[in-house]
Symmetry: C2
């Protein structure tokens, strides 16, 4: 397990520099100072490694952003959102670079499907956010606005990541908040409609089922050492199987696990499931 972590970290460094295709397993193993065979003990192929990386970081990323957005007050919501995203990219800049590099690359079918899935989750977060902020004001423009916001994120991330300029994240977030507000308030002509979005998202993936969440919880429970968080997870698992607890208690339990580094994704899934 620890070796898996090492490989993922070192591989990510190379992927960020060279991209997936241009990075050979040879290079990865050399960069880890392990043998080729050792690599294949941890991952059964290069593809599996890449998917593991995507999964690991995207679950962390999405759940973190979602948490910050749901916690924030309306007045600071947009700022918090932008700041959290860019900060996340900054902290995991290698992964963010890979993301930007490979987003239009036709590397692999399952890779694209996976990315699309997470992209949809981000869409949902942004949509909820602007509905909360602007309400009926943006009924007809909200999908266009979501696309613009994602565009801002992508474009300014490029700047952040590929030009080694020290950057004032505060100013960046403030500037994007203003732009977003402008577009939200004054836009009348939209290009992106709900229909267009839906026709693009044909491969819609079913919601995460209760069984899937259970599976993930059980795995986490096995992995974790005894702690309040583990105990909370066990209780939440029981609640999932048979709802008996008071909503306040459930919320409390969710709060318990939110900040545990390995539980953010589970926490996100459960919050969605219990509708908090």
């Amino acid at each position: 397990m620890i070796k898996k972590q090492l490989i993922m970290e070192k591989a990510l460094e190379l992927f960020a520099k060279q991209g997936f295709e241009a990075t050979s397993i040879q290079q990865i193993t050399e960069h880890c100072s392990i043998s080729k065979g050792a690599f294949y003990l941890s991952f059964k192929s290069k593809e599996e490694l890449i998917l593991a990386l995507i999964e690991y970081f995207m679950t962390k990323f999405i759940s973190d952003i979602d948490h910050q957005v749901t916690e924030a007050e309306n007045e600071e919501l947009l700022f918090t959102f932008y700041y959290a995203i860019f900060n996340s990219f900054y902290e995991h800049s290698d992964f963010a670079k890979v993301l930007l590099k490979e987003q239009t690359q036709t590397f692999n079918e399952s890779f694209i499907v996976k990315m699309h899935e997470y992209d949809r989750l981000l869409d949902k977060i942004i949509l909820t956010m602007i509905e909360r902020l602007y309400g009926e004001e943006v009924t007809y423009t909200k999908y266009d606005l979501v696309y613009c916001i994602k565009g801002f994120i992508g474009n300014y991330s490029k700047l952040l990541l590929f030009y080694s300029t020290p950057v004032d994240l505060n100013l960046l977030a403030k500037s994007l908040v203003e732009k977003t507000n402008l577009l939200a308030k004054y836009t009348t002509i939209t290009f992106i409609s709900q229909e267009l979005i839906e026709s693009m998202n044909l491969p819609i993936h079913g919601e995460v089922t209760k069984e899937k969440i259970l599976e993930i919880i059980e795995q986490k429970i096995v992995e974790m050492e005894e702690s309040i968080e583990k105990e909370s997870l066990v209780l939440l698992k029981q609640q999932l199987l048979e709802p008996t607890l008071n909503p306040a208690i459930v919320k409390g339990l969710l709060g318990n696990i939110q900040n545990h580094p390995h539980c953010k994704w589970v926490s996100y899934l459960l919050r969605n499931y219990f509708e908090y």
Copy 2:
């Protein structure tokens, strides 16, 4: 020469689907129904082919956009600009796809340098355009605005190219015109300053020199068959060596060659040089 064209076209198809790295010369030669040796008679390496493709399309693209922008009246300027760009992308969608796919890819040093060069030319066109449109109104926000406009182009191009949805270019351009006007008129907080731009553009490339233009003109003259356009080029070449002609005549000559498919780039360079 005709074979070179064939290879470029067929290679572009494959590049658009798979990207540079993932496309082998084997594949290209098979797709052209020629032998490997024949490929190396036209291009001395894969890299040379790619650079030739970039050069061929980007010169066409930049000069075309510049022409349309300089010709347009202020009222329709922004619309013309967006429409021309997306239309160009639509017409040469394979090339546009390659462009989007490879823009963050670290394929090759000279490739990046070349792309950066053309990117700067586009920057200049956009900057001139918004200065003309908004004047002093955007003195402090214009660099930020340029970046946003380029962002819009990139983001919406992705939609255009990678989702096979039939698209209303007219609506798209109109919607972006509105957004651009909004940002131009109301933006107060900017993230991108002139200093930031300049610090990013460290590898500034010197202007195209008179000698370089002469070189290109001479090559074109050799390639072209007898025609008004060729005659115009010869006269413009003399004017370049020894300015004797009336500005009106020069402008007329430039007009003569503007619409010749192989002279657009030369025309662009000359217009810049003679400052029309």
